[in-house]
């Protein structure tokens, strides 16, 4: 039980992606313009990561080594498509906003990375804990970055204005270059905290 907890908790700080585990940068850059999108992405990734970790862990002894990557990808892609369909059915505007980044969860290196490095070697419970932890950690990172970018870039938080009307947003932050710079600075802050 203790180990389950440990596997879960490590994703929240010790190995929090994409800061400690520098993986999954594309969605981190792309969907952190608004907090809402970031949370949606976080939930989607957590769901896919947990499910795929569970399935891969269950099947880890049946997958031939040579085609394991293909099999992992199929499992991940299945869950991603499920997320895609469910999101279309229940939150269509979010689906439109996350756009191409939903199918691209498939190639988010975090998923394949965890499958390869963890789920294919550990039992179901640990893999689930790992997936959940890393997924939530990823979500938290997205949330933090998105809060920063949305508050300063749009002057809103969850689409609610937080500054007075005289506030001039730093629209640089919500453009592509801003995404890179923000993430770079976040990494820098994480490096300082690490010490």
């Amino acid at each position: 039980m203790k180990r389950v907890f440990r596997e879960f908790i490590k994703g929240l700080w010790e190995q929090i992606p994409p800061f400690r585990l520098v993986l999954g940068l594309c969605p981190t850059l792309a969907v952190t313009k608004r907090v809402e999108d970031a949370i949606g992405m976080g939930i989607a990734v957590t769901f896919v990561l947990t499910c795929s970790n569970i399935i891969i862990s269950l099947l880890r002894n049946f997958i031939p080594k040579q085609v394991r990557i293909a099999c992992f990808i199929v499992v991940i892609a299945t869950f991603v498509t499920i997320v895609e369909l469910v999101m279309q059915a229940f939150n269509y505007p979010l689906y439109l906003k996350l756009g191409i980044f939903i199918p691209l969860i498939v190639v988010n290196c975090i998923l394949l990375g965890r499958a390869e490095a963890f789920a294919s070697k550990n039992s179901v419970i640990y893999s689930a804990a790992d997936g959940l932890g890393i997924g939530i950690g990823f979500g938290l990172s997205l949330f933090t970055l998105a809060s920063f970018r949305e508050i300063l870039g749009y002057g809103t938080f969850f689409n609610i204005p937080v500054f007075g009307p005289s506030f001039k947003p730093f629209s640089f932050l919500v453009k592509a270059p801003g995404a890179f710079v923000c993430l770079g600075l976040m990494l820098c802050i994480m490096n300082i905290l690490k010490k």
């Binding site: 040579q66 085609v67 293909a70 199929v74």
Partner: protein, 658 residues
Amino acid sequence: MIEGLLVMGLLGAVLGLGLAIAAKVFYVYVDPRIEAVEELLPGANCGGCGYPGCSANAKAIVEGKSPPSSCVAASAEVIQKIAEIVGAKIELKEPEVARPGCKYGVEKAERKYIYEGIKDCRAAVLINGGEKECPVGCLGLGTCVKSCPFGALSIGPEGLPVVDTSKCTGCGTCERVCPKGIIKLSSNSLWIIHEYTTDECTAPCQRACPAGVDIPGYIRAIREGKYEEALIIIKRSNPFPAVCSRICIHPCEYECRRNLVDEPVAINPLKRFLVDWEREKGIHVQVPRAPEREERIAIIGGGVEGLTAAYLLNRLGYRTKVYEATDRLGGLLWIGLPENRLPRDIIKWDIDGIIEAGVEVELNRVLGKDITVSSLLKEGYSAVCIATGGWDIRTYIGSGNSELPGIQFLLDFLLKNEEGRTVDIGKSVLIVEGGRSAVEAAKICRQKGAKDVYVIMRSKKEDVFIEGEEIRFRTVLTGMEGEGERLLKAEICEISDDGKRILKKEEISVDTIIIGAGRFPELVYVPKENGWKTISPYAGPNSEHLIGIFRPGEPVSDYRAAVEAIGAGRRLAATVHKYLRGIEPVALENMIRKGVKVLDVEDVRDVPPIPRQMLRSRSRDELIRNPYLEETIGFTEEQAKKEAERCLQCGLICYRKQ
């Protein structure tokens, strides 16, 4: 439902089948061991193994091109595992660490200009070689620090790289990246075989030392109170510190930069202090030995030179045995030096230290009588070193036969002829040097039935007043080959007028070589298929002539001073080591030798005079009572510290300013 299942199933089937077939069609055999080895390697891709990255080395290891221990970063355990995979024997490696070769940071050194550019040595060096006046000065911009894959380097407060020896794996990345070649890998073995070059920072004293001792190094260690380290620094170049501390001619002190201010640093008395400290502790400090190697080496001659070569080869990891013709080791040390200058227990102390290190000895074994070169080679020695050095050949000759296969001494030959004793010279004879006597000898050889007689001389034709058809001028002997006790071939070379280049190389078959010198040169006999050949040690720093076995300047061995013999012994060891490790045993192009200009200073500034510490003399009464007592008493620790403090820790042009 069915559609999705079918389409995806079909797609998967097609792709799976395609891949399965492709796997078969495009199958390329890859040795599974390569993957296994690569998995074990640390993956730092430091290049310390000499291959571009770990996977390349893994391939090389499996293919047997690279030993399992080639990875400098892998632990012994990993190397063991790799060796198991490839089924190779492990050759343990001596640890090497990076050693910065510059002592003064940019702030303290003379500067040509102030550099304010990209903070990288490789960039800085493009502007007239960097801001330092000294061409081999560290620029301190930390290119090596950034390149270190193991985080073992940092720039210290002096503005020079500092090595964390616990982290350094000796991969050599820093050495490769340094644009000035200042930081270098270092180990005791590398020190032993090292010769100073013009491309490194050396102090005037160490350049003057015939044994090449790192003098500023040991004085610094004394200053820091690290006496054991100081002794190791000395002993890796000179295993006779006790003897030298009494009788050394100390050329170093004449070169000391303090001469420009007051008096030279008491370098030799400082060495004496270390020896006194060692003797007081009663333990012989030893240079750490490199991992045991397979090769055994025989050294003929138990004098200073032979023992030095034996000791240093032993430290390089070889099993060495000294064959001595008399009943005691030490050779000329016992002769001609009064006991109050060189007490006998001092000689014994150094020799005991050498024996303690593991050098084996056989006394009363005379070359030519009890042993021969080929009998030793037959015993399985990988090299037989001739270090009979300082003894005059005639003091122990007596067998009537030549001691080395096919070699006769000119004087001995003439004498025997005079006395009417038979000398077997065979069909062809090569006479090396010997002036007019050589012409004489050639005549005798002809009379005795030799068909081919060659005379070779190093001198220019115009410089000598002898004539003779068979004389070849500007020609030297460079090697010999033979089988068993027989000499078969001699390699002679015609050299350029400056004596530095070989113009023509020639191999002639000879049965006998008659040499004009009176002593055996240092020579190394190594096995060759169906026989043996010789290797000649490279010329020492005092020799002006670089090519040939007999070199004027050090005609045979350096017996003028013990310290010269020590230097010759070290070069003998280095030659053997290099040969056995597949490195061509020649001196480096830029080796510092007589007449080579080295950057230096003509005056020193900001150095206040400090009086030199003097050795205390014993009272007259005491000396009269015991005539064997040394006249002086060594430094006290306090004196030694004070004297060491006087050392300017010179570099090429840097020195400690106040």
